[in-house]
Symmetry: C2
Amino acid sequence: MKTRIETALASALATAEREAPPKLAAALRHAVFPGGARVRPRLCLAVSEACGGDAPRLADAAACALELLHCASLVHDDLPCFDDAAVRRGRPSVHRAYGEPIAVLTGDALIIGAYDVVARAGAEHPRRLSPLITTISRAVGTPHGIVAGQAWESEVDPPLERYHRAKTGSLFVGAAMAGAIAAGADPNRWRPMGDRLGEAYQVADDLLDAHAGAEEAGKPTGQDLARVRPSAVSALGTEGALARLRRLIDEATAAVPECPGAPDLRALVVAMAERLVPAGLRQSAA
Amino acid sequence: MKTRIETALASALATAEREAPPKLAAALRHAVFPGGARVRPRLCLAVSEACGGDAPRLADAAACALELLHCASLVHDDLPCFDDAAVRRGRPSVHRAYGEPIAVLTGDALIIGAYDVVARAGAEHPRRLSPLITTISRAVGTPHGIVAGQAWESEVDPPLERYHRAKTGSLFVGAAMAGAIAAGADPNRWRPMGDRLGEAYQVADDLLDAHAGAEEAGKPTGQDLARVRPSAVSALGTEGALARLRRLIDEATAAVPECPGAPDLRALVVAMAERLVPAGLRQSAA
């Protein structure tokens, strides 16, 4: 699965590297490789396989698009006007390495490239293309997706649940539903699992921010506290957040719909979620 | 035609306004209304009509998407790290009115919204959706579209023709080809017209920058000279640039392929191109 994802991502960037302005091409590569855990594309492919996986190229394209969109959101979120992050995945952030104009354009190019990848693969399955693209757009756009989530940070007293759902949860829901659509299955059955997993991921990210060092996280930690951002840790305490994470993982596995690949998918969900717990807390989370 | 475009744009923003974070919703509206001449969507609709216009809702969606993408590029191009423009279309630029984070997100949301609009309308014409989206992506992405054009500005000594084609010409080519695809026609016949018209627009924009006041242009002028950017006026002189503009308009009208709507379309091309000449130069351009 890892190979399928990395191959699809490399292929998506190949044209840009060959003919694009050199700094932009290098920045695109910097933003996408080497990646993180690729949890969203893995989820997408796993759901597609669980649904029969009859269109692997379309599923690969959807998975690739989700990761490109995730990378785009990281590049823009790291900009000086947002988090002003110097480090991402243990290396300089894109704007630190290539300058702010190229960082803005890298995010834009990744968003556009994501849709292009899906549209190309969709030529073989034209009836799946429209729902696939609207599902992905809902996950990243406004009013329910990542962009809306980031924009809630510019409001005084944002609605917390909507903020978290939009900024983090939406792309997990989108990944699960996109995997189903790519395989010609009903996407709505997969929404609850994506939703629970997305919330688990948010809680785990809050734990990571509060309890991991920058090396483990690959980015500066302690940011929620420093920026007075809402966090499961500040709301529930460490033990409370860990208990919530465990419950969400249980709910996510229970929400996997019955299908031939359900057992494998449940195992993957548990593995994904457990990996997110900071190393120092894993004993108490087990 | 104007009504169709404004209605499609208003409809595309309606959901965002209802449920998005309020500042983002307001910024989206600010970026799109009131618009400029809407030349790209008008070109798209005119080509669609000239090709028989059998799918008006899909054509409207494509036209709307092209304008949303154009607006996105203006919002990002105005950011402090690019042109740092305080004024656009005679009003404060988005980042001046709503702050830099919201301006970055507005551009992102407009790009995502553009694809969403096309995908929704494409459900009725699934076989046209894949070519429509890849054509639009080529016009705005990398290596040939607007994003690549803007990124060439970060390179020392960029290839001028590729720079101009990417930054300005590509979206005219995309608009013409998208109009054809929306109507189920062969898009490649329309590429030369879009290409000539795009170049005419670039020359006209250079003339506007050199010879119009900020009020007529709706933005600060004299920027090419101030930023030592390549310009048809600095390369050819005012008379030379006007002569080139006249020749390009002739070539664009001559490149309209034979079809039932060809005469109307030729008249539109001339009208569009003439409108771009600064008022003070219109006599000598006639």
